[in-house]
């Protein structure tokens, strides 16, 4: 399996750079992908990112597959004006909680900051067979959703 690189390694630095460039190029798009718009904010031609960097692709998939409990999300706190980062509770009826005080003025930047936060907090071997236990990769929930 492809490990999640430690944040200061050359691999991680390359991925962080690529991720940032992709996210920055998506500013203005009503949507987002870790792909690079040839013209910023215009999805007519997209290249790079998840389509060309296999390691980044695999690491992102691992991050996206994390269980709902404790998962980082973005909350729009003022429509078209303010966004913040929060964490899901994993318990139904218990709402997400903000995890930082940082307020973003666009919906793309928190996507990149969450990538950085995950590089820091996820073990290098996350999802490796050594982690096997009952419910391994069952995403810790009893729900069948997606």
């Amino acid at each position: 399996m492809i490990p999640i690189p430690r944040p200061s390694t050359p691999d991680a630095e390359r991925m962080i750079r690529e991720h940032k460039e992709c996210i920055d190029s998506m500013k203005g798009v009503a949507g987002n992908s870790v792909l690079k718009c040839e013209t910023p904010g215009d999805t007519t031609t997209v290249t790079g990112g998840i389509h060309e960097d296999l390691q980044l692709n695999r690491v992102l998939l691992r991050m996206r597959a994390k269980p709902a409990k404790g998962k980082l999300v973005v909350i729009c706190t003022k429509v078209e004006k303010e966004w913040r980062i929060a964490r899901l509770s994993g318990v139904r009826g218990v709402p997400p909680e903000f995890v930082t005080d940082k307020v973003y003025d666009n919906e793309q930047d928190p996507q990149h900051d969450i990538f950085l936060m995950r590089l820091e907090e996820m073990p290098e071997t996350d999802g490796f067979p050594e982690h096997f236990r009952e419910g391994w990769k069952r995403r810790d929930d009893q729900w069948t959703v997606t």
Partner: protein
């Protein structure tokens, strides 16, 4: 942080001029709120589009109203009002249960004991419960016995308990249906109680809950029965609950499993005979009346239980044999009701204000806009729809209200770990999602699972539906979805000056062909995914008779829906039902034997698996979905065919069609439809533009189209991951134009409606709205065409 202090709903989705629509408002905090009727033009706040647009309407209900907090009492249960026959000295209770959350997390929103069969309130009465430790518990007043053996979740158990007033002895039985090799034995437990049963007056007998108290508070009027607050909602199935008026022996309890069948004669079989039958107070048979909201009592007193908040019925019972899959064929094997603590059929709020829609009010999208001085805000959307025969335009916009209901108050970004994989980015939630994540009583969508993980297959419109709101971006698209996305189309129609009526799925379902036949063209919303049979019949009849159809979205005609007939008495289309069966894009999957709707008895699932292929309706059908970004279309050679070339007047052949938009940045995106004659597209269909080859890895083929998981199913590789814009003629001068992408309408408002997507749609609409049959195609276009050998350019040169 309080996310939404004002929420509300109306008693109707569609209202005719001269009829009255009632609004119900929860104003939790502000002393007063302002209400005004507005016409909805554009709901998308994206600064790259025209921005939010509404128009104030003069209405006699526009005013400031005193704020009142209103409560929703969700959680399903059955009850029988207080009857003296239930006020017993000795008692036996029994039922089968299939619990789904016998033990809950301490922070769970309804953590605590769950009632199974109870006549218990405030430490008085009797009842079978599941306690906080997940064990069966029998209560006699404030005395308790429990087996101490935790219940297995998702498994049938027989449970029974008796109390003998004379001896004071209470016995509790807990018997799993399947006993595994290493399971400890669970012997009956007994205890002597020195108490006599007493009762709080007015305590109902409750199935799947218990009486938590009575209240005179105005908000308590929303509970059923009014003022009686039910607590301890049970999650799971119950089958055959029974109450007897004395302590039965174990053998008698066994005999009671046969149920009650009165009217013993020398010729008729009967349930318990002789003395045992005299013990029966109530014996509910939920296999009878599955399409109703009553739990039939086969006991002597006919204490039929009122079923509140529409739990799931037509569920396999403890005795399901796996041979019959339709409940109508063996209702006795479908005696289970699956109750959920988050079921909701009707918020039952008090009316806050109402509006008699004046005669002559234009048929459009409207909303009651609610605001407070502190900046709190909510909108209650509704549609003014002309009466049949009083149409005011040649164009009808068919608002996909069943689909809106299917997505109502959806919780996926908050609950589903996989949501981020689906959308290929971190989900963004809005105040509506945050409010709902805390207020589970507002219920979920048909995309959600209940709080116990079981599929949510029923949705009511009689509750605030915070996803049917302007200014709401959905996590799937990071842009408007469904209602606010359909306002992209409305903005365009208004901007271009078209006169149009609006009709809803509900109107077409209940009125049939009469509702649509007077229009020259029907335009759909961006995602008419969920449809009733009568609605599809009406569209089919309309198009066969020369009607014109513009399919503005994708993933249409996918799921089988039906309105639950038990709610017809309080309005049209109140509760809709959908079962996620054999295949298709399913956030949950119906269990074996549970594919048939409880309301209409019809087979649920995809229309495709009922032989009604998606592609037969508009010409194209669902192929793939992905939610990261959208792309654009290119014209095909077929767009130059004289049958359709008129649609591209003013558009160059090489133009990129829709490389812009307010959903994903392009016209082709989120969910995509294609032509497939083997799945029902007429063989004379012309594909006039396609987005083939341009989608991202986040786009994947729908699962009903393949039998093996394999590499290469994504948008960078699979040939079916694309959107086809397609045209075909129907008999009698009718036609259909399919634009085949959910993101498509999001391109219409771009550059204030001055763009090539707008041009294309305008060309089509101008032709389709004309009176009389469309011009006939040239005679050489008429030829024999096969289905499997469909290849349009080759058709032209076929020998």
């Amino acid at each position: 942080m309080t996310w939404m202090k004002i929420t509300g709903y109306a008693d109707k989705f569609s209202v005719h001029p001269e009829d009255t629509i009632k609004f119900y408002v929860n104003c939790d905090g502000p002393a007063e709120y302002k209400a005004e009727i507005v016409k909805m033009i554009h709901g998308d706040t994206n600064p790259r589009g025209p921005g939010y647009i509404e128009e104030s309407i003069k209405a006699d209900c526009n005013s400031t109203y005193k704020g009142m907090k209103q409560e929703i009492y969700s959680g399903s249960y059955g009850f029988v009002a207080d009857k003296k026959q239930f006020q017993l000295e000795s008692v036996t209770l029994q039922c089968w249960i299939w619990p789904t959350t016998p033990k809950t997390h301490p922070k769970y929103w309804k953590h605590g004991a769950q009632g199974l069969v109870t006549k218990w309130c405030d430490g008085k009465g009797y009842g079978l419960f599941i306690n906080e430790d997940g064990c069966v518990e029998f209560r006699i007043n404030d005395q308790v016995i429990s087996t101490g053996a935790p219940l297995r979740d998702h498994a049938w158990h027989f449970v029974a308990a008796s109390f003998d007033a004379k001896t004071g002895e209470a016995i509790l039985y807990h018997e799993p249906q399947v006993v595994y090799a290493l399971d400890p034995e669970i012997p009956p437990v007994s205890k002597k109680f020195s108490t006599k049963l007493t009762y709080v007056p007015g305590t109902p007998t409750v199935i799947a809950g218990y009486c938590g108290g009575m209240s005179d508070a105005p908000q308590a009027q929303a509970s059923v029965p009014p003022g009686v607050l039910i607590k301890g909602h049970y999650n799971g199935k119950i089958d055959s609950p029974r109450v007897c008026n004395r302590a039965l022996s174990r053998l008698e309890i066994e005999s009671m499993k046969l149920g009650a069948q009165p009217g013993l004669s020398e010729r008729r079989n009967s349930g318990p005979s002789g003395k045992l039958s005299e013990a029966i107070v109530a014996s509910w048979d939920f296999g009878d009346g599955i399409n109703t909201i009553f739990g039939k009592d086969k006991g002597p007193y006919l204490f039929h239980a009122t079923i509140v908040n529409c739990p799931t019925r037509a569920m396999t019972g403890y005795n399901w044999q796996g041979h019959v899959f339709d409940w109508k064929g063996a209702p006795e094997q479908y005696g289970a009701i699956h109750f959920h603590d988050d079921d909701i059929d009707n918020a039952r709020w008090q009316v806050s204000f109402e509006w008699k829609v004046p005669k002559g009010t234009s048929s459009k999208f409207y909303a009651a806009k609610l605001t407070s001085k502190d900046g709190d805000e909510d909108y209650i959307p509704f549609w003014v729809v002309p009466r049949v025969g009083e149409e005011t335009a040649k164009i009808a916009v068919m608002v996909p209200t069943i689909s809106y209901m299917a997505y109502a108050n959806e919780h996926l970004a908050n609950n589903a770990g996989g949501a981020e994989l689906l959308v290929y980015r971190v989900p963004i939630m809005q105040q509506q999602n945050m409010f709902l994540s805390e207020h589970r009583e507002y219920g979920g969508s048909i995309y959600d699972t209940h709080t116990d993980g079981s599929g949510l297959c029923l949705s009511s419109r009689l509750r605030p539906i915070l996803s049917i709101r302007p200014k709401y971006d959905h996590f799937l698209a990071q842009a408007p979805w469904q209602y606010p996305a359909d306002l992209h189309l409305i903005y365009w129609l208004e901007k271009m000056g078209y006169n149009y009526d609006v009709i809803t799925d509900e109107d077409v379902t209940y009125d049939g062909l009469a509702r649509v036949e007077n229009y020259n063209v029907i335009i759909t919303g961006s995602h008419p995914e969920h449809n009733s049979g009568p609605q599809l019949d009406a569209l089919h009849n309309y198009m066969q008779r020369g009607g014109r159809f513009m399919y503005m979205g994708a993933d249409g005609w996918y799921w089988v829906h039906s309105y639950h007939p038990a709610y017809d008495g309080i309005g049209r289309g109140v509760v809709t039902e959908m079962r996620r069966c054999e295949s298709g894009i399913r956030t949950w999957r119906a269990d074996p034997g549970e594919y048939y709707h409880q309301g209409t008895g019809e087979l649920g699932g995809m229309w495709r698996f009922r032989g009604r292929y998606l592609h037969t309706i508009a010409g194209t059908g669902m192929s793939s979905e992905g939610f990261d970004i959208s792309t654009y279309y290119s014209r095909t050679e077929e767009s130059n065919d004289a049958r359709v070339a008129w649609a591209f007047e003013g558009i160059d052949y090489d133009e990129k069609l829709g490389n812009f938009g307010l959903v994903g940045g392009g016209a082709a995106g989120t969910e995509l439809d294609i032509v497939d004659t083997m799945l029902g597209s007429p063989p004379h269909t012309l594909v006039v533009a396609t987005s083939a080859g341009r989608h991202t890895e986040g786009y994947l083929l729908v699962m009903e189209d393949y039998g093996f998981n394999q590499q290469g199913l994504d948008g960078t590789q699979h040939p079916r991951v694309r959107s086809d814009i397609a045209y075909h003629e129907t008999p009698n001068g009718g036609a259909s134009f399919a634009f085949s992408s959910i993101a498509f309408c999001g391109a219409l408002p771009w550059n204030n409606g001055d763009n090539n997507i707008s041009k294309l749609v305008g060309n089509v609409l101008n032709r389709f709205m004309q009176d009389g049959p469309l011009p006939a195609p040239s005679p050489e276009a008429i030829m024999h065409r096969g289905r499997a050998d469909y290849d349009q350019p080759l058709n032209k040169t076929r020998k």
